[in-house]
Symmetry: C2
Subunit: 288 residues, 2 copies
């Protein structure tokens, strides 16, 4: 009945042998082997094991309906990006838009909005228009595609982080592409921002002398019938931290110019103040 440092692993793997779901059995067997390898590698003291239990517990307690500290932990350890990259490899098609991390702030439904609507409900910050098309890999426009967008405001905060200060749904919108696969919305240029630093993950970054900043970006999830949905960002080309994103999510193909436009007629056409910034982001979906 005794087990030793090596026999422990097959004993635990064997305990999962009767798992009815073969995929769950595979995952738990792999988890056991890798977790035990990690423990054998670092040989934690009891105090270090207790510290790990405490860290995980605090991470759970910091997670609420509007905050997801475990996603943040997955993000800063590069796990979210690795999972995304693996899934994109599986579904990748020639020329399909790169995916990147979901992030911890997609926790509420985005309000449905119409073509050209503003997602910014405050009005401070630099006015901005984002345009784009959703197309299939062969270039066919995809009318009726759904484009879910969310972003931080010009101060670097999402609505769910400031429930008293920002109106609910600020910086969020769910759009349907028009007959030519186009979407368009008005907003403010998002700011680069620190991921939340007041929880256990912030403590981890602080203890490891890592900065908490993410380069400025707008989140997208685009989905269309008969196609693989994509979860991605568009990054603002002149933002700081493009080379050291705290969550490792930057891909070159997702960095776009937010061009300065000084043209009162165009501004009036879009319904924004002049001057403004204009970004285009076409999203190419792989067939499913």
């Amino acid at each position: 009945m005794d087990f030793n440092e090596l026999s422990a692993t097959p004993a635990v793997v064997e305990s999962f042998a009767r798992t009815p779901d073969p995929r769950l059995r595979e995952i738990l067997g792999s988890l056991t082997r890798h977790l035990h390898d990690f423990v054998r590698d670092i040989e934690p003291t009891m105090e270090e094991w207790e510290a790990a239990i405490g860290f995980l517990t605090r991470t759970g307690h910091a997670s609420t309906d509007t905050r997801q500290e475990f996603i943040l932990l997955s993000d800063v350890l590069g796990v979210s990006m690795l999972v995304e990259t693996i899934n994109q490899r599986k579904s990748a098609g020639e020329g399909a838009t790169d995916s990147t991390v979901l992030g911890p702030f997609h926790m509420v439904d985005s309000p449905e909005r119409e073509f050209g609507d503003a997602i910014d409900l405050i009005g401070s910050g630099e006015p901005c228009v984002v345009t784009g098309r959703v197309v299939s890999v062969d270039g066919t426009p995809l009318p009726g595609a759904m484009v879910d967008v969310w972003q931080a405001d010009d101060q670097g905060f999402y609505d769910v982080q400031q429930p008293g200060e920002q109106p609910q749904g600020n910086g969020r919108g769910l759009f349907e592409t028009d007959g030519e696969g186009r979407f368009r919305f008005r907003t403010v240029v998002p700011a680069h921002y620190p991921i939340p630093t007041d929880g256990p993950v912030g403590g981890l970054l602080n203890a490891t002398d890592r900065h908490p900043y993410r380069p400025a970006h707008i989140h997208f999830i685009a989905a269309a019938e008969g196609h693989q949905p994509v979860t991605t960002h568009v990054f603002v080309q002149d933002s700081p931290y493009l080379e050291s994103d705290a969550v490792f999510a930057v891909k070159k193909s997702l960095v776009q110019e937010f061009t300065e436009v000084d043209d009162p007629a165009r501004a009036a056409g879009y319904g924004v103040a002049n001057p403004f910034r204009l970004a285009n982001f076409d999203i190419v979906l792989q067939r499913s």
Copy 2:
């Protein structure tokens, strides 16, 4: 700035390179490598990644001042026992008492009690006397050693699991050994019991067709000046589940006979009803 499935790992390890504490840097580098290996091994879908985030979050939420679901998770994955075994190897001395897992129920201070006191405050269940000595590896008795004990009642529940039904401190006691290194207490024979099954870890056992039972045992932490403390159990020899402990914690050397004694004079001497059960558990500590 893009990283791929392999370059992700050195990029994240490098992000921890400025960690001032070298041990923390070592742990996080190893964690990153093993966690990424696990992800590359199973190639989780986004839905599986979300399920993992949800499981960890629920495990955090199930942990309170009197319940520790992450310790329970560590226990059922064999991690607690592996960490214990590694630490015992490091501090092992010839003939020192084997350690085993702390378990999730050592969350409150045990009340100080005197030699021979009862830790059972209810009075149902089979009466039992536990005796023993704390000695150094060379056999020298250790007077003034502290012996912290805690156990489930005859129904298989700890006091912290039944705050309304069991008096606080039931089944717990902190004893100081006498001039000859001896300790003694009255109790009831503990029952084998299921670990808590109403949380995420119970869900995991259920989904994997694993039983949740632990063989009957009494927890001990023994500590004496100049010696390594030991966290261990004494297991009841005739208990079921000695061969399939849900948390992998049984060691042969820790299984003791709980002898049936039918002797009114001895029962009176101990202050228990006749007949009763008698167990002896000597604890041998390694010098520090």
